[in-house]
Amino acid sequence: MRSIRGRILLLSAVLLATAGCATSEEWTTWYEHRTHFASYDHMGFSVRNTEGSSPKVTRQDIALARDEGWWGKPITVSQEQILER
């Protein structure tokens, strides 16, 4: 029992020691990370619309989900700060 506790403590210490560093493993994690929608509920709404058939998501569903899930006007650089017409 004591041995198991000891191992858990050792493992925790190793995890703490390695936390906070952008390791190559984390690069790989990000690389493997699959982009999808932050608001899954909205995508679920689209899927529910196709009840009884295989779920389908159209480009319009995505545009709608984006509009409904919009988090407010972002703070971002304007086109004019980068480019001229």
């Binding site: 990000w30 932050a38 995508m43 480009r59 995505i62 988090w71 703070i75 650089v77 480019l83 001229e84």
Partner: protein, 231 residues
């Protein structure tokens, strides 16, 4: 031709037109020709209007996790250019889930990752039209990549990070024609960084790598509009 055939013949083009209208992305994503300030800009816009709308349509249908805002595609001049250099520019907002691993990277590392993932495929889409790529008036390409900053909102508003990547035409064509690799492309590109609205100046990104994300990722259950083909 009897009456029924005449009605059917009239309905076919209407149905096709309706199908196209449903499938079409907003056309205001491409800067209209009349809004350019020089003849060179207007000439490029007029000559390659179809190619730019096709680029817009391809991004809309084939990269549905990406958003293209109004006037994000056009033959813009890099700000403060000393002459009327015209670069085909495309600005995209990349939607992705929050990722602790991505958040732990430095800004330059996030920029490198985004460069690796999007610049090559974007350049290929931007040069699908041989006439556009060969146009002597075209001086280069700009890719503007924008994503949600992995940080708390400011005043309730999300903050975006942005990189503007400028690549001259010979460098881009060398890469596209496999004479150089993505590392060389990233080393020759000029990259400006922005934290929200704040310019960070020219940033040094690391060597890029070939990331096959856009060719392998599929949005779950996503169905292309009829007649749309993604290559």
């Amino acid at each position: 031709m009897n009456g029924r055939s005449l009605v059917a013949a009239a309905l076919v083009p209407l149905t096709l037109a309706a199908g196209v209208a449903v499938a079409a992305p907003p056309s205001d994503r491409v800067l209209p020709a009349e809004q350019y300030t020089t003849d060179k800009g207007r000439a490029l816009a007029a000559a390659h209007r179809g190619a730019l709308q096709e680029l817009n349509s391809g991004l809309y249908h084939c990269w549905p996790w990406v958003e293209v805002q109004k006037a994000s595609i056009g033959f813009y001049r890099p700000k403060n250019a000393t002459q009327d250099d015209r670069y085909l520019s495309t600005r995209i907002y990349i939607e992705q889930d929050p990722s602790p691993a991505f958040a732990r990277l430095k800004f330059e590392e996030r920029a490198t990752a985004m460069f690796s993932r999007y610049v090559g495929p974007l350049l290929r889409r931007m040069t699908k039209s041989p006439a556009l790529a060969a146009d002597p008036k075209l001086d280069g390409f700009t890719a503007i990549l924008e994503w949600m900053k992995p940080a708390a909102p400011v005043g309730g508003r999300p903050v975006h990070e942005t990189v503007a990547i400028f690549i001259d035409k010979p460098t881009a064509l060398d890469y596209l024609q496999s004479r150089t690799d993505i590392r060389t492309l990233s080393s020759k590109a000029r990259v400006l960084g922005f934290d929200g609205e704040t310019p960070l100046g020219t940033i040094a990104i690391g060597p890029a790598w070939d990331d096959n994300f856009v060719t392998t990722f599929k949005v779950a259950n996503y169905q292309l509009e009829p007649g749309v083909v993604c290559q």
